[in-house]
C-alpha cells in the first residue's frame, strides 16, 4: 500500500472493557476512523477478549494484521504481545478527543475506576491533568453496581436519571457505605430516578472539580464509556453551572473509542517518524521510545 496513506490500530484496554479503533491517516494530515469496536470484559480473560475483539474488528473491516503499519496500545494494554508500541492513557485520550471534536481544549476520561481531567493545547499536547484519588467513591464501577442493585440496565440509567424531580444525595464518601445509603433510600421510598440522579450529581461534582483544578477553560469533551450516559452528562452540565465553571461540555458518539483512536493516531505519528529515520518496526514492542 502507498506510504502516504497508512493504516494503524489502537487498542485501549480498560478495567471494564476493551476498545479497538483502526485509523487511516495521510501524509497530508487527513485522519479518518475506519472502524471502531468495544467489548465488555465481564470476568473473562482480558488477553483473550482483547485478541478476539482485535481480530473481529480487523476481519469486520476486511483487513489483516499485515495491512497495519503500527499497532498501538494504551490503558492497561502494555502487556498485549502483538503491539508495536504503547502510549500512556492521557496522551491518547487527548489526541482522540481532538480528533473527535477539534475545538476541545480539555477532555475528561471517565472510566470504571478512575476519572482523569486532561488539559491539552491545539496540538493535543497534554498541558495538565488531575486524577481521582485511590478511593473508588463515585466511580463508574460504583454506578454500575448500584444500578444493577436497582434493577436498571446501563442503557436505562441515563433516561431514568433525567426524570428525577428531587435528587437524593449520598452522604457517604465510601462507595460501599454509599450502597447501603442507597438501600436505605429505596426503603424510604425514594424513587429510582432520584437516587440515580443523586449519584450522577455527586459523581459530576467530583469530575467538575477535577476539570477546574486541571484549569479547563472553554470546551470539554467527555471521553470513555460513560459519555453515553445522558443522565451523567446532564448532571455534569448542572454542576458546571453551579460552580460557575467557564467551560462547556460535549459528548461524541465515539467518545468511548477516544483512547483507542488516539493510540492509533500516535502510532501513525511514530510510524512516519520511524520510517523517516529508517527504523523497522517488525518486532512487537519494537517502539520503546
Amino acid at each position: 500500500m502507498k506510504r502516504d496513506a497508512l493504516l494503524t490500530a489502537g487498542i485501549d484496554v480498560g478495567s471494564a472493557s476493551v476498545k479497538v479503533a483502526i485509523m487511516r491517516t495521510s501524509e497530508a494530515g487527513e485522519e479518518s476512523l475506519l472502524v471502531g469496536r468495544s467489548e465488555r470484559i465481564r470476568r473473562r480473560a482480558v488477553d483473550q477478549v482483547t485478541e478476539g475483539l482485535f481480530e473481529t474488528t480487523l476481519s469486520g473491516a476486511g483487513l489483516e494484521r499485515k495491512d497495519l503499519e503500527y499497532i498501538a496500545t494504551t490503558g492497561e494494554g502494555e502487556v498485549v504481545p502483538f503491539r508495536t508500541g504503547h502510549f500512556y492513557g492521557m496522551t491518547t485520550h487527548a489526541r482522540g478527543a481532538r480528533f473527535l471534536e477539534p475545538e476541545v481544549d480539555a477532555c475528561i476520561d471517565i472510566g470504571a475506576l478512575h476519572a482523569r481531567a486532561i488539559l491539552m493545547d491545539r496540538r493535543a499536547k497534554v498541558l495538565g491533568y488531575r486524577m481521582t484519588s485511590q478511593c473508588a467513591s463515585g466511580s463508574g464501577q460504583f454506578l454500575e453496581n448500584i444500578s444493577r442493585y436497582l434493577g436498571v440496565t446501563m442503557g436505562e440509567i441515563g433516561p431514568l436519571s433525567l426524570e428525577a424531580d428531587e435528587p437524593e444525595l449520598c452522604s457517604s464518601i465510601c462507595a460501599v457505605l454509599a450502597e447501603t445509603d442507597v438501600i436505605n433510600m429505596v426503603s424510604r421510598g425514594i424513587s429510582t430516578a432520584n437516587i440515580l440522579k443523586g449519584i450522577h450529581l455527586s459523581m459530576a461534582g467530583r469530575y467538575i472539580k477535577l476539570l477546574n483544578s486541571a484549569k479547563a477553560k472553554d470546551v470539554v469533551l467527555v471521553t470513555g464509556g460513560l459519555a453515553a450516559d445522558v443522565g451523567l452528562m446532564a448532571a455534569l452540565r448542572e454542576r458546571a453551572v453551579e460552580t460557575q465553571s467557564s467551560f462547556s461540555i460535549l459528548e461524541h458518539e465515539h467518545s468511548s473509542l477516544a483512547g483507542a483512536i488516539g493510540a492509533a493516531l500516535w502510532g501513525a505519528f511514530r510510524a512516519r517518524k520511524m520510517s523517516r529515520l529508517g527504523v523497522s518496526l517488525e518486532a512487537s514492542g519494537a517502539d520503546s521510545r
Partner: protein, 432 residues
C-alpha cells in the same frame, strides 16, 4: 430514652449572651470602617494571641480561625473550601486554612456580612500548631504586608524552661514590638500594657470560676458546646478590655444563679438539659453541624463538664494569670502554656484530672481530620486516660468546617452505642 426537658424559661436568653453578641458585632463594625478611619489591623491566631500587646498599640486584631469557624456555622465553609481546593489546595490539609483562603478569594466578607480589612501585619505567633506557619506564608503571598514571626517553643518535656521564656521575650522585644511600632506609628507603652493585663487577669479569674462551676451536680453549664461561647471574648479580640471584664462578671453571676436554682445547662432551643451523663471531651467541635451535634448529646442527657478545647486560647485553671508586674514574661508564659503547646503526657494528665475532679461518667474524643496538633496521638490518649481513670472512652471522627467529613449517621450510631454502654455499665447488665 431521650430526656424530658423543662419548659423554656426566660433566663434562657442570658444578658451575657446579648452583651457578647453586641461586643462581636461592634468589633466587626469597627473592622469594616477601619481603613476609612486610617486605623490598622493585625491578623493573628487564637493560641498565643497577643491581644493586650496589640491593643496597647491601638491596632485591631483579626483572627482568621474565628472567621473560618463562623463561616462553618453559617454554612459558607463548603464553598470556600471547594474554592481553595479548586485553586490547588490539597484535600488532605487543614480546612480552616482552605476556608479562610476561599473566603478571601470570595471578597473577604466577614461573619457579619461586612468586609474585613486587609492586614497591615501578619503576626505569626507560632504556638502549638505547625499549620499556622504555612497559613501565614500562604496569606503573605496574597497580601503585600509584613510578617512578624514569634516562634513559641513546644513544651516537649512538660515544662516551661527559662531558655524558652527568654527566647520568646527576646523575640517580643526585638521583633514583635518594633513591628507593631512600625505599623501603628506609636511607641511601645508598657504602662498601657500593664492596665490591659490587669483587666485580663480579672476576666480570667471569672472565666475559671465559670468553667469550674461544672463540678456542681447538676452542672450549670455545658463546658464544651456552651463553653465555646464562654471563651469567645477572652480568646479573641477582647482580652484586656472593660467589655470583657463586664461580660465575665455578668456571666459569673448568671452561672452562680443557675447553681443556686440547681438548673442544668441551656441548649440553643432555650431548654435546660436534665443531666444523665457527665462527660469530659477532648478535641475541637464540628462547626458545620454545631447545633445538630450538640443535640445528639443533649437529647441523651449528656452534659460536658470539662473540655480541652476551651483551653486552646490559654490554660488558666493551674493558676496562670496575665501579670502586670511581669508584662512580657507573662505574655511569653501565656503563649507557652496554651493547651496545644503541651506534650502528650501532659494532655493525658490534664484529661485524667478532669475525669476525676469533675466526676465524669465518660470520656469522649472528637477527632477532627483538620487538626493534627490535636488529633495525632489521640487514640493513645484515649487508652491512657481509660487506664488511669477506669472511665470508658469513646471516639468519634468529624472535622472543623468541612461538612463532607461530618457523617451524622455514623456519629449518632457511635454516640448511641456509647451512651447505652455507660448506661449498661451503671445498671450492671440489667435490661436497658
Amino acid at each position: 430514652m431521650s430526656t424530658s426537658k423543662q419548659a423554656t424559661v426566660d433566663s434562657a436568653k442570658d444578658r451575657s449572651q446579648d452583651r457578647q453578641k453586641q461586643m462581636i458585632a461592634g468589633h466587626f463594625d469597627r473592622l469594616a470602617e477601619l481603613e476609612d478611619r486610617g486605623e490598622k489591623c493585625v491578623y493573628t491566631f487564637v493560641p498565643g494571641n497577643l491581644t493586650e500587646l496589640m491593643l496597647s498599640f491601638g491596632v485591631a486584631p483579626v483572627l482568621p480561625e474565628i472567621n473560618a469557624l463562623q463561616s462553618g456555622m453559617r454554612g459558607l465553609s463548603r464553598d470556600y473550601i471547594m474554592r481553595a481546593e479548586k485553586d490547588g489546595h490539597s484535600e488532605d490539609v487543614c480546612t480552616y486554612v482552605k476556608c479562610d483562603i476561599g473566603m478571601m478569594r470570595a471578597g473577604n466578607v466577614g461573619p457579619t456580612g461586612k468586609r474585613l480589612p486587609n492586614p497591615d501585619l501578619l503576626l505569626l505567633s507560632y504556638t502549638g500548631c505547625f499549620t499556622f506557619l504555612k497559613w501565614f506564608e500562604l496569606l503573605r503571598e496574597e497580601y503585600d504586608c509584613p510578617v512578624a514571626m514569634l516562634h513559641v517553643p513546644y513544651q516537649a518535656d512538660g515544662r516551661i524552661t527559662d531558655e524558652m521564656r527568654t527566647y520568646v521575650v527576646d523575640q517580643l522585644k526585638k521583633k514583635i514590638i518594633p513591628a507593631l511600632e512600625r505599623i501603628s506609628g506609636r511607641a511601645y507603652d508598657e504602662d498601657r500594657l500593664r492596665e490591659l493585663l490587669t483587666r485580663s487577669a480579672r476576666a480570667e479569674d471569672d472565666l475559671v470560676h465559670v468553667l469550674e462551676s461544672a463540678k456542681n451536680k447538676p452542672s450549670p453549664i455545658d463546658a464544651y458546646f456552651g463553653g465555646v461561647y464562654y471563651i469567645g471574648p477572652i480568646f479573641s479580640a477582647f482580652r484586656g478590655t472593660e467589655d470583657a471584664v463586664e461580660y465575665y462578671r455578668e456571666l459569673r453571676e448568671e452561672i452562680d444563679e443557675r447553681v443556686r436554682l440547681g438548673q442544668g445547662p441551656i441548649i440553643p432551643s432555650g431548654q435546660h438539659v436534665d443531666e444523665r451523663y457527665r462527660l469530659v471531651v477532648e478535641g475541637p467541635p464540628n462547626w458545620t453541624s454545631f447545633r445538630e451535634f450538640w443535640e445528639m448529646f443533649s437529647d441523651e442527657g449528656a452534659v460536658v463538664v470539662a473540655s480541652t478545647y476551651t483551653k486552646v486560647g490559654g490554660v488558666y485553671e493551674d493558676g496562670f494569670r496575665h501579670d502586670p508586674d511581669r508584662p512580657l514574661e507573662s505574655l511569653a508564659e501565656y503563649c507557652l502554656g496554651c493547651y496545644t503547646n503541651l506534650n502528650l503526657p501532659s494532655r493525658v494528665e490534664k484529661l485524667a484530672g478532669y475525669v476525676r475532679d469533675y466526676e465524669a461518667d465518660g470520656f469522649l474524643i472528637n477527632s477532627v481530620k483538620s487538626c493534627n496538633s490535636f488529633s495525632a496521638g489521640q487514640l493513645m490518649i484515649l487508652r491512657e486516660v481509660e487506664n488511669q481513670t477506669g472511665c470508658p472512652g469513646g471516639f468519634i471522627e468529624s472535622d472543623l468546617v468541612d461538612p463532607r467529613y461530618f457523617s451524622a449517621a455514623n456519629i449518632k450510631n457511635r454516640l448511641e452505642s456509647y451512651f447505652q454502654m455507660i448506661e449498661q455499665k451503671r445498671t450492671q447488665g440489667g435490661s436497658l
